[in-house]
């Protein structure tokens, strides 16, 4: 969780007046926060001479975080539909399974739609998860129209009165207009019979500044409601997630920290900021 451990360890060892601001900038950049956020933090800390430096950084970060709810929607009348989107290899399918498990543990009745009909064996991957979790998985054949699979699942989730429908989609690079159009179609088709309540963008925590461009285009295309940040168990600081939340006002809702189903938690910003300053 302590994304900036190294940074704050360093600061707490140094009196800020003696800490080279350029060095601080380097540390922020190395955490993938990006040149923009790094500059803002430095400038704010300069202008708040009387404030404790750590407080200043904490305040800058907390001010840049989104005020939007980090709760996952719930509709008591009809199935709550969650669309999982992102570029290739960020961990969408694993996140979909983890989210299903999380909701199941909240005593919700969950169904998964395997709308990644493109990647070789993706359907099989989510089916395996479904079997392990005891959660029904609706699927088509490899190469089937993902919108059709999602639509079938939406219909079934209504008639069989599920609480949640999680739609796992194929990874696609945000620069491929045709693939983005396909994703828009998935959402559009499902919304013919039921609203899509959440669109969760899965962001690989090891991603660099490109993550922002990804989130931005997915947001424009299908209206992202929150982020799932994955692979935070490595040495990556995941600063891009903070930068993305700050720039696009998209709340981080969940973080993935490992390969097992339970390595998945709600993102709690207050706790997160406390963690930072407690170091």
């Amino acid at each position: 969780m302590s994304l900036f451990k190294k940074l704050f360890a360093k600061i707490s060892r140094n009196d800020i007046s003696t800490l080279d601001l350029l060095e601080l900038e380097s540390l922020l950049i190395e955490a993938d926060l990006g040149a923009g956020v790094a500059k803002k933090i430095i400038e704010n800390s300069k202008s708040r001479k009387n404030e404790d430096f750590l407080d200043s950084v904490k305040r800058t970060l907390s001010e840049s975080l989104s005020n939007k709810s980090r709760e996952i929607s719930y509709d008591s009348e009809k199935p709550t539909v969650i669309l999982i989107v992102g570029v290739n290899g960020t961990g969408k399918t694993t996140s979909a399974a983890k989210l299903a498990n999380y909701l199941k543990n909240e005593n919700r009745k969950v169904m998964i739609a395997a709308a990644d009909t493109f990647r070789a064996a993706a359907v099989a991957q989510i089916q395996t998860w479904g079997e392990r979790l005891g959660i029904p998985v609706v699927f088509g054949n490899d190469g089937a129209d993902p919108a059709a699979v999602a639509f079938d699942a939406a219909k079934r989730s209504i008639t069989e009165k599920f609480d949640y429908l999680i739609i796992d989609t194929a990874g696609r690079l945000h620069t491929k207009d045709n693939l983005m159009a396909e994703l828009e179609k998935v959402k559009r088709v499902v919304e013919k019979i039921i609203p899509v309540n959440e669109v969760l963008f899965v962001l690989d925590g090891t991603t660099g500044q490109n993550g922002l461009a990804q989130a931005q285009i997915f947001n424009e295309s299908v209206g992202v409601t929150g982020l799932i940040v994955t692979k935070l168990d490595g040495s990556a600081k995941g600063g891009i997630a903070i930068a993305t939340e700050a720039a696009l006002d998209l709340p981080i809702k969940f973080i993935g920290t490992g390969e097992t189903l339970t390595d998945f938690a709600r993102f709690e910003s207050v706790k997160y900021l406390e963690d930072l300053t407690s170091l």
Partner: protein, 493 residues
Amino acid sequence: MFDSLTGKFASAFSALRNRGRIGSGDIDEMCGEIRKALLDADVALAVAESFVAKVNERAQAALPELRQSTNQSQAIFAIVNEELISILGGTARRIRLAKNPPTVIMLAGLQGSGKTTLAGKLAHYFKSQGDTPLLVAADLQRPNAVNQLSVVATNAKVPVFAPEVGNGVGDPIKVARDGVAFAREKFHNIVIVDTAGRLGVDIELMNEAKAIRDAINPDEIIFVVDSMIGQDAVRTAQAFLDGVGFDGVALTKLDGDAKGGAALSIAQLTARPIMFVSTGEKLQDFDLFYPDRMASRILGMGDIQSLAEQAKRAFDGDTAAKLEAKFAEGDDFTLEDFLEQMQAMKKMGSMSKLLGMLPGANSGAMKKQLENFDEGEIVRTQAIVQSMTPTERREPKILNGSRRLRIANGSGRSVKEVNSLVDRFSAAQKMMKTMRNGGSIPGLPAGMANSISAQQSAGLRKPLSKNLPKNLPNNLPNKKKSRSGNPAKRAQE
């Protein structure tokens, strides 16, 4: 991929060009711009800084001499180009084949970096080189990784050794060892071992990778890395280097707009060369890595060399010679030649990839068009031509209304599309005539002409014409034509 890096370099240089005489301060300013561009592209801080320091030092040292020269900015451009080639790894390196086959290649990397897809592409590549690769499914961790590799292998028409179903069951070390033994027995000369993705900090999994390595004693270990990775790239790479070790790097997902800077830093900081790049979802979207050519692309000079090589490979000598003779004799370029060229083009790989090698192709608008090039258009155009009789192909003039309707029905396209193809073809034919008579190629992108002349004047490369195979002038108009076959582009024209 490097589009915005290209743009920023370009603006740093143009600021320099606009100075009458370059002073020491101008160089500092340019270096500041370059540093920022590199950091925005996720280039590791240490690499960005040492790069800028070197460029600055060399440019400052050359300054007294440059004062005499007329094109100072070009000389500085050349310094940047050379330093860029050096951070990209200097010279190209290829897979070293083992003296006693099979050559064992092991793939390692983070989860989701694209190992399994790359395994398929590598196998496909080796197969096209006349090798007999075998894929070994030693990723028993991720659900259905084995299944995925099998599908990929089927697509590449390469055999796969997959005795375990995976999903957490089975011993990857045993699978890897048995796979290599199996390859030896069946005389496969190359074995590609796909392993589970792991984090640099996961000691247990790193030890497993080490055990696989020790069991199969690979000739090459390739570290597969996502080009979108951020500043953590260096730490991760170092952890893999210390853990399992690797000989080369493969960059994946270069078809997005990630600038790949962090991944490039790996080559510099670990002193391990980038060997392959993967640029799309199809098996053919795979390239060998050439540092000098990549530097050209980053600096917006295009990659004419790769384009020429691909053309050489696709157009067999006979076709080319025949066409050239025809061309020289003043015979008309016919739809039959067109069809032949189109088939050759298809052999060269996807159109968007080919056009992406042209100078200026990475700039905004063109890049966007390339991303969304409809490859199916070539197939449709081909269908139309194939629905014509040989006479019609030779003499498109005879295509009256009823013939056009027949062709439309035969190819499953509309008469409008047939008409538009015939129109475009006549235009191309006219262009060929102009060229033969010594005219310039109309409609060549301005950026292309510019950067070609920039290359020549900078003396970075031999004059372009020497690098191109003789038949290329025949191909260029063909490409122009196919490109305008895209309805979106047609509308733009």
